[in-house]
Symmetry: C2
Subunit: 377 residues, 2 copies
């Protein structure tokens, strides 16, 4: 089987999500938005898909992919990784785009063999616990505007069946404010009681001292982990923080460098729980990172949602526990956000679980009629 | 698909290989020997096979495997790994047996999907350089009895097309003797000239001082690596040796502990090149170890031969370079050693390469007539 083409299909949809100046998502007025579907075709008629990507990406990737066996994922991935260093590939093949190509190839392998990706990798579990992961704080009345609003939302998530809840608190220009963060964390703990697992993912550029202050408060409030409170390029700051806190510190999340960076964090003892996702390079480096962490007995919690992350979670019992479901907000219907799929990828099951998608590949069933009706190019 | 049974099929064959008191292989008089084929069956009629295993192994593994989806390799492997700790499973599921079960499951996955295992994993290359790996030294005239005999054999391997040659030198009771080892290494280098890659895998329980003496000599002789010269349970000895030598020190090979142990060796800087194989736990922990090493930019050279190791080499460009072809001896026809296969798994190609087997699964075609004719149970 040979790859014959890679394309980026752009289409319009209606969105109720807007981004603030730092790129964080919030509810907003409904507006036209664009989504991209990356599609890899073969001479056998089998195709692979992943949402995301760009026209520039497929143009840079096409000469590398066309003519290759789509099952040669490792050689394709290593080649694209080497290309990332320079010129237009530095942006066109940035990790977020590399991750889309790699996921599309895994999707193709699953569709070609009739297996969901996690069974190709070697299945460990068919479902995984999810946590409700909020959007960042806002100033929308009864949204996520006050500690009390977070408590209200945590309670309603608990009533929906979630057993775990993670706050993203206020970013610029509404924050950051360590005391406000702690107040929200306290209000949530007081409302949901001692049995719900709680986590905090706050502003990602606090000082060492602010991070320590928040961490100590989370220990008192029996939080489960403390995520990326400082700039991840300062590994020494994370070593400093992790040494002093008993609550598990989690990272790196956004730091560049794939499994190489996670290896250095482990070597330095810069966090208690490592973090990575398929959107920063693909399923291929994600599995490398999972295996790295397992070799050191270090936990790894998968960042973010989507079918690729779910498939990876299905193939790992160790070292990851939770699926991040979101980002959620009281005003947003999470399951209405992907009208290009015939059904949502991560419906919440009783007990607070999400099922690993069972369809071949990544497990998405694409609504081609929707995409064709809204196609831009 | 569900697993319905796991069996160990034992059969006789004629062998010209005998083992010395430490377990090292040498040529000897032809005699009856026993081989075992482990077979995993499913309700879909698909089967998976791996040579090796035992009756005790399948009896302990059967309750874990039967009823499971054979694609749930990760959960099956983790369960069996946990069972290794105690009682009869400590021997019946020792790494060498765990590795056989895991390989049989990968073989089954490949046969079920029509793909060789390396394409399931994600292919990187279709062929790999091989090195001729000798049996240990002996006292057989014109065998591997003198430095000159090693030189003769290295020359004939070079004429066969090998571009790399590894000596296993004299073990008890004919060795160990550091000066004898160095003399053999020198004779080989002088005979084959500067362009053949040479490696040494000598006695595995030398003192620090003897190992340093041999290592210094190998540096002068431009050897490519220096393998397991000391007891691998003394990690500090390897740190000591690796710090002083410029020739890459390789290990651990026989040390227990799978990827966990390789992680600690990396952390300690106990070797320059890591080492592992599918026969000590399976393809599953082998890939974890490969990914661990890649994350640290550490080379890993695969130990030993066989179809599982070849498949893994096909899925890794980084960090492993060579396939170990052997063990070879002037008196032994390597390719006559597996009469239970319709053809050998690792024929040498021009340029000194071996092709990654292309048949589904591990890539073996089993001669069922041979096995039935010689079956014991």
């Amino acid at each position: 089987m040979k790859i014959t083409d890679i394309e980026a299909i752009a289409f319009r949809y209606r969105s109720k999500i807007v981004q603030d100046e730092e790129g964080h998502a919030h509810p907003g007025p409904e507006h036209d938005a664009t989504e991209t579907l990356t599609k890899v075709s073969t001479d056998a008629g089998v195709e692979g898909y992943c949402f995301g990507g760009s026209q520039a990406t497929v143009e840079v990737a096409r000469p590398v992919l066309v003519g290759q066996d789509p099952f040669d994922r490792e050689s394709i991935w290593q080649r694209l990784r080497q290309y990332q260093r320079m010129g237009k590939a530095r942006t066109a093949l940035a990790d977020r785009y590399l991750g889309v190509i790699d996921q599309a190839l895994w999707d193709l392998a699953g569709r070609a063999t009739g297996l969901p990706v996690y069974k190709l990798l070697g299945g460990y579990r068919d479902k995984v616990l999810a946590y409700a992961s909020t959007m960042c704080g806002d100033d929308l009345p009864d949204g996520l505007d006050t500690p009390e609003s977070y408590a209200d939302f945590a309670q309603s998530c608990k009533e929906m069946g979630y057993t775990a809840f993670k706050l993203h608190t206020w970013m610029s220009p509404l924050g950051p404010d360590p005391k406000h963060d702690v107040a929200a964390c306290r209000a949530v703990r007081e409302r949901v009681g001692p049995d719900t697992r709680l986590m905090l993912d706050c502003h990602h550029d606090y000082s060492r001292e602010d991070a320590l202050y928040i961490g100590r408060a989370l220990e008192e409030l029996d939080y489960y982990w403390f995520e990326e409170p400082m700039n991840e390029h300062s590994i020494s700051s994370y070593v400093w923080l992790t040494e002093q806190l008993s609550i598990p510190v989690m990272g790196p999340e956004t730091a560049e460098g794939k499994m190489y960076t996670r290896a250095e964090w482990i070597l330095r003892g810069a966090s208690d729980i490592s973090r990575y996702d398929v959107w920063h390079g693909g399923i291929t480096p994600m599995m490398k990172t999972i295996h790295l962490c397992e070799s050191f007995g270090v936990r790894l919690e998968v960042h973010g949602g989507g079918p690729g992350n779910l498939q990876v979670l299905g193939a790992m019992g160790i070292p990851g526990e939770y699926y991040e479901l979101g980002l959620l907000h009281p005003f947003i219907d999470h399951y209405a956000r992907t009208p290009w799929l015939t059904e949502p990828i991560d419906p919440l099951l009783p007990g607070g679980y999400v099922r690993i998608p069972q369809r071949p590949g990544l497990g998405m069933e694409i609504d081609w009629g929707y995409i064709e009706r809204n196609r831009i190019r």
